[in-house]
Amino acid sequence: MTTADVAGLRGTRSRPGRTAVWIRPERVKELSLLGVIFVALLVFSFLVDDYFSGRFFNRVTTSVAITAVLAVAQTLVIVTRNIDLSVGSIVGVTAYLTGQFASSNPSASPAVAIAIAVGLGALLGAINGVIVAYGRVPAIITTLGTLAIYRSWLISHGEGKTITADSLPSWVVDLPTRTAFSIGGLDIRVVFAVVVVIVVVFQVAMQRLRWGRRLYAIGSNPEAAAQAGLPTRRLVLGAFIACGALSGFAGFLFLSRFGNITVVAGQGLELDSVAAAVVGGVSVLGGSGTLVGAFLGAVLIDVLDQSLVRVPQVSEFWRNAILGALILAAVIADVVIGRRFRRRWSAEARPHTKVGDGSTDTPTEAPVLTGATPRGESGDA
């Protein structure tokens, strides 16, 4: 049976004529984050003496590396309208076990150690993914459970023993200080460079690979995704495995940075990863947000945190409060700006045949409504 007839409806392909200057919405968010970071640096340079120093740069890039990797991992999952609260425990387990492996096999190659961390993380992520995607247990409940289970296992496995830095081979412990290259007096550490590469690779994957776009689709409208024939369960499982693998890598970074790993290593990192993603413009409802944004979110939070430490007038207590307030402000600003842009696009998008302002149309805005209403028996039969 020929399909040529319908294909004829596809129209003639032509170079589309773009009218207005087009900035992708995600780009706006990323640029505004960069702007905020810049403003923050400017403000603090007045409050703190000798603010811009190589040491400050190193401190930020070192501490942000782990959070940035976790922010990327978390974003992959959040975008599908899920969440992974067990990343902190995954970091702890992988850091500890990789540390044990490295200290008992000091001659093993670094690649093996990293592979173990990543592989272990992927396995733990797969457990999450299977329960969420195939067991249909909500992600927040599943990962709260695995957060506790992985941690408990680690505590019982570790029997209270700490991995000490001395027991680790030197290549592990020295890694954070190794410099990849220098730009005008600033040392770019290997770890930071690797993290940036990871962010870029995954960003490209999410924007250009069909796999990545489908993750966004699932979060944007799970029902439509199923109807479009997308293999949603497999895709969600994949997102959790990737998240776990990245968390495993973060566990390795954790091991190399701190050396001394206790059984409570990594506790609380899940909150940092969610905060970084949210500040970075990733919607907790799924379907939108970029990895570059999450990375910049992690950078912004870390810059604020490190800078506040150096402002003598701010006590430790106030530091946390101010940090929380700044995070909140970032999210609110994002919502307000985002709403403005959305309204402008929808106004421009109205076909010229439309009568009036179109405000009486059935509203179709918020993703949470479109995906969440029950179908099935509620329609007219």
């Binding site: 319908v6 409208n221 199923a226 076909p351 009486t360």
Partner: protein
């Protein structure tokens, strides 16, 4: 190629030529849910290049049929044949591969993805890397053929329903659809958009697609369909060529009884003015709206979608208050800045969007009915009196003939018509003096529609003042005492019942000289 020949000759007669195999055939399909028989021994054929309308009351089995056709439900008995070959449809992906697609009343789109991605995301054959420019160019081309001109890069959220529908049609076209099922596609469209949709449907038909067109609007059925099938209570009752059947016969087949006049009539005698609106306006939405509303009167608000009718209602109900002008209730000027104030003044508003705004779908029928008037059921300790709630709900269930398995059933499981009645009960329970109904019969079956009209008539006779916003012109003309027409935010005419005709109202709504 057969397709080329087909384009040159009349599609209908070609398709009915003896020996031509229907593109999709259902034979002896049965589907039961527990004790409910949704489909009983249903056989239906869809031919290439035809628009096949499907009509039927609520509960007739149309939704279930669609679900069987698209692989959501496997039939308990019977078989589905595509091009004469039996197939087993076990998933949406199976149906998609066979070229069967469905578009529903509320378009299923991805709000965060671009228009182009919405069209192409489900394609399985395009490799791991997205080719953005090609995809956008293709999207723009398909949409242009459908007479929709938008930038394919923008996010799909916030687009008007008609455009989202076009996106879904474009999606189907891109997948080389052979059977396109459209479930109440015109429910949320203005007359102008309906015309464009019909052009798109005719294009599809002429390209050889079998279109299954499900609609409650018989006028549209007669305009677009080649054949009409009637379903009733899970059975396929009849199939006729469009020219071989009349509207009353269709209705009779749908309900199993003769319905001579399903629009209620009533006379209205002049009474006291309860609502006086002068020069009401809100920037960007409407301006200079003035009218009086008498007790016991039904004032119809007619106009195209987007003319500002709902905006007026939202202003009267305090959701999006007016910026200029005055509102007088019972002779006293009032300010309405919130819905609570509107309710306290005796104004109630039944939203056109019953699933997202009008009802709380996961909650019970009782909870929905008592929600805005909850303070009446709350004792001094702040505890809700469940028994009082239930008896109020029961009263409305009987009065409005709400069909539900029980009052504690989640409202989301009810059919559209009964959801509408629940919403109506909710607002009637607030004992309003002025009741604004926004598209109260949209997407519900003929029987429920007649019920709603009867209720409106009874309410008007009991002294309630009613504003009826509806895009169904015959409905507006039959039910209203006066018709106020809006066009692009301006009031273009007020007609008394005796002088209002479809032509006059449409002229005022469209503004054609």
């Amino acid at each position: 190629m057969r397709g080329v020949d087909r384009a040159a000759s009349d599609p209908v007669s070609d398709a009915s030529a003896p020996g031509s195999v229907p593109v999709l055939a259902m034979r002896g399909i049965c589907k039961r849910f527990g004790a409910t028989r949704a489909l009983e021994d249903v056989s239906l054929e869809l031919r290439r290049g035809e628009v096949h309308a499907l009509v039927g009351e609520n509960g007739a089995g149309k939704s279930t049929l669609i679900k069987v056709m698209t692989g959501v439900y496997p039939p308990d008995e019977g078989e589905v044949l595509v091009d004469g070959e039996p197939v087993s449809l076990r998933s949406a992906a199976d149906a998609q591969r066979l070229g069967i697609a469905a578009i529903y009343q509320e378009p299923l789109i991805f709000p965060d993805l671009s228009v182009a991605e919405n069209i192409f995301i489900g394609h399985q054959d395009q490799g791991p890397v997205v080719r953005w420019r090609q995809m956008c160019a293709d999207a723009e081309a398909i949409l242009a053929r459908l007479d929709v001109h938008i930038d394919p890069r923008i996010p799909a959220s916030g687009l008007p329903v008609a455009t989202q529908q076009a996106i879904e049609i474009a999606k189907a076209i891109s997948l080389d659809v052979r059977v396109l099922i459209m479930d109440e596609p015109t429910a949320a469209l203005s007359a102008h958009e309906v015309e464009r949709l019909f052009r798109q449907v005719r294009q599809l038909r002429d390209a050889g697609v079998a279109v299954l067109f499900i609609s409650h609007r018989l006028d549209e059925v007669f305009e677009i369909a080649d054949r009409v099938s009637v379903f009733r209570d899970g059975h396929h009752v009849s199939t006729d060529g469009r020219d071989d059947v009349t509207r009353p016969r269709l209705i009779a087949a749908m309900v199993g009884r003769q319905m001579s006049d399903f629009y209620a009539r009533h006379d209205h005698h002049a009474e006291k003015v309860i609502l006086r609106v002068r020069d009401l306006g809100r920037t960007g939405k409407f301006a200079g709206v003035s009218f009086d509303l008498q007790r016991g009167e039904v004032l119809g608000l007619a106009g195209l979608v987007g003319a500002g009718r709902t905006d007026i209602a939202l202003a009267l109900f305090g959701v999006a208050p007016a910026e200029t002008g005055t509102i007088e209730l019972d002779g006293k000027p009032v300010t309405i800045a919130t819905p609570r104030q509107a309710l306290d003044h005796g104004i109630a508003y039944l939203s056109e969007d019953r699933r997202h705004v009008g009802l709380s779908l996961p909650q019970s029928v009782t909870a929905n009915i008592t929600l805005p008037s909850l303070r009446r059921y709350v004792s001094r300790l702040g505890l809700v009196n469940g028994a009082a709630e239930r008896s109020a709900a029961e009263r409305f269930r009987r009065q409005l003939s709400i069909r539900t398995a029980g009052l504690s059933q989640p409202v989301g499981l009810l059919s559209g018509g009964n959801q509408q009645k629940t919403m109506l009960a909710k607002w009637l329970n607030t004992e309003p003096a002025v009741l604004i109904l926004d598209e109260p019969t949209r997407g519900i079956d003929v029987g429920a529609k007649a019920d709603v009209h009867r209720i409106i008539d009874e309410l008007a006779r009991s002294g309630m003042a009613i504003v009826l916003i509806s895009s169904d012109l015959p409905e507006v003309l039959a039910v209203s005492d006066r018709v106020l027409v809006m066009r692009e935010g301006e009031q273009t005419g007020v007609f008394d019942r005796s002088e209002a005709t479809q032509e006059r109202v449409m002229t005022a709504a469209v503004g054609v000289a």
